[in-house]
Symmetry: C2
Subunit: 239 residues, 2 copies
Amino acid sequence: MSKNLFLQIEIMSLSLYFMKTELSQTEENYLKAIFSISLSLNKAVSTNAIAEKLKTKASSVTDMIKKLSEKNLVDYKKYQGVLLTEKGKKIAVKIIRKHRLWEVFLVKYLDFSWDEVHEVAEQLEHVKSTKLTQELDRYLEYPTHDPHGDPIPDENGKIAHHSDTMLSSIKEKQACIVMGVKDSSTSFLKYLDNANIKLGSVVNVIEKVAFDDSMRIEIQGAQLSISHQISKNLFVKKI
Amino acid sequence: MSKNLFLQIEIMSLSLYFMKTELSQTEENYLKAIFSISLSLNKAVSTNAIAEKLKTKASSVTDMIKKLSEKNLVDYKKYQGVLLTEKGKKIAVKIIRKHRLWEVFLVKYLDFSWDEVHEVAEQLEHVKSTKLTQELDRYLEYPTHDPHGDPIPDENGKIAHHSDTMLSSIKEKQACIVMGVKDSSTSFLKYLDNANIKLGSVVNVIEKVAFDDSMRIEIQGAQLSISHQISKNLFVKKI
DNA sequence: ACAAATTTTTAGATATGTCTAAAAATTTGT
DNA sequence: ACAAATTTTTAGACATATCTAAAAATTTGT
Ligand SMILES: [Mn+2]
Ligand SMILES: [Mn+2]
Ligand SMILES: [Mn+2]
Ligand SMILES: [Mn+2]
């Protein structure tokens, strides 16, 4: 009886030790979603927020959260939302790293434009191979930012701090450089292409209209008027 | 009643027209397996052969075959095995094309060796994006063969005919060039690396031993003896 | 404080893909 | 030709991931 118990414990430890750590694409997407919601939030992530982000139902989220909690990837208390554990955070950052490296690859070498890369990167980010990620990073010459200006975590998971000034907060007569986009929707990116606004563009704020928070800016000699909706989605750095 | 029937038929046609054509990775792997077994066979592919290739059970294969048959990707008659339809064949070839293009990419740009690429290509081949495949092809400068010497189907699904002479069938005193490997297992590829046998290597058959079908060959000035197991897995072209 | 609104969880279904065991059909050997 | 061996299919489970509807818990508003 006692011998049997020891045997059982030994088997449990062994299965823990050899536990398959490979996650499904779905599990990876949940971790990524929780991570990205956490970034703009200093409390536990709600079931509904995850459901909305992943375009699924709250009930499905509850199920998955339980599974991730079992695997020690999230801390979860019923009705209290979730937070990633260190283990969960590490995995989320790895996937984000892969996503952004692939986006750089697609733009740099395969003639994709910045509004075409996301969908494909969503698939590529789940390919499992440490060597692949490392070599891709080397091949791309260790890029620090993706085509949307988002920082690429390094091999150890360290992420450069993202510029957090929005164009909307820049004062009249002040100049700045476009560092990134907050919204990566095709429609926004195509609007920017059209307005000739790119990463690195120098923008001069000519005039701010208090009534609707729109602003008139000057970019490469040309002047144009942009709505608040646009200016609050552009990360910039003051010059 | 009759009006209702018409409505129903209309809905059916519509759902056929808009039917999601995206296949799961599993479905794609079945098509690829059936295709590759068909190549070395001029009759219908057996349930067991597929099961063995995919390391699954015959009963699972029967289930999947029914599903693929529903989708008109295979012709299937109970107990008679399956054959790909034109539609099924096209999809299989597309996946093989992607697999081999990715293998070229990994070797050419990411410092993978020919024994490391297969596992990763098995994942990459399922990424869905026509543009990705086209641009990758262009970027690689339209390669015709993968790192194992296998032909890469072109955009229209056309495949160059594979060299079908094996080194084992070459006569004494005859020289030939290594064109491909029949077996792509790590152990075989590593053996070849060790023996300094690569695609393009010029091989001179010095002597054939009738007893065990081994042969002594000369390659880059060095002589070595290789077993029948080796020589019958090397595609060559007589000089 | 407590009723109403909202969020979250549970219960029960469905769809995909897998498995084992048993039944059915086909092929093989004499 | 027909019994035995082999192959294939069916039946019934199970695991993952999803959904709807209803129940339970929490939060909000007065
Ligand atoms: Mn993206
Ligand atoms: Mn991005
Ligand atoms: Mn391969
Ligand atoms: Mn290959």
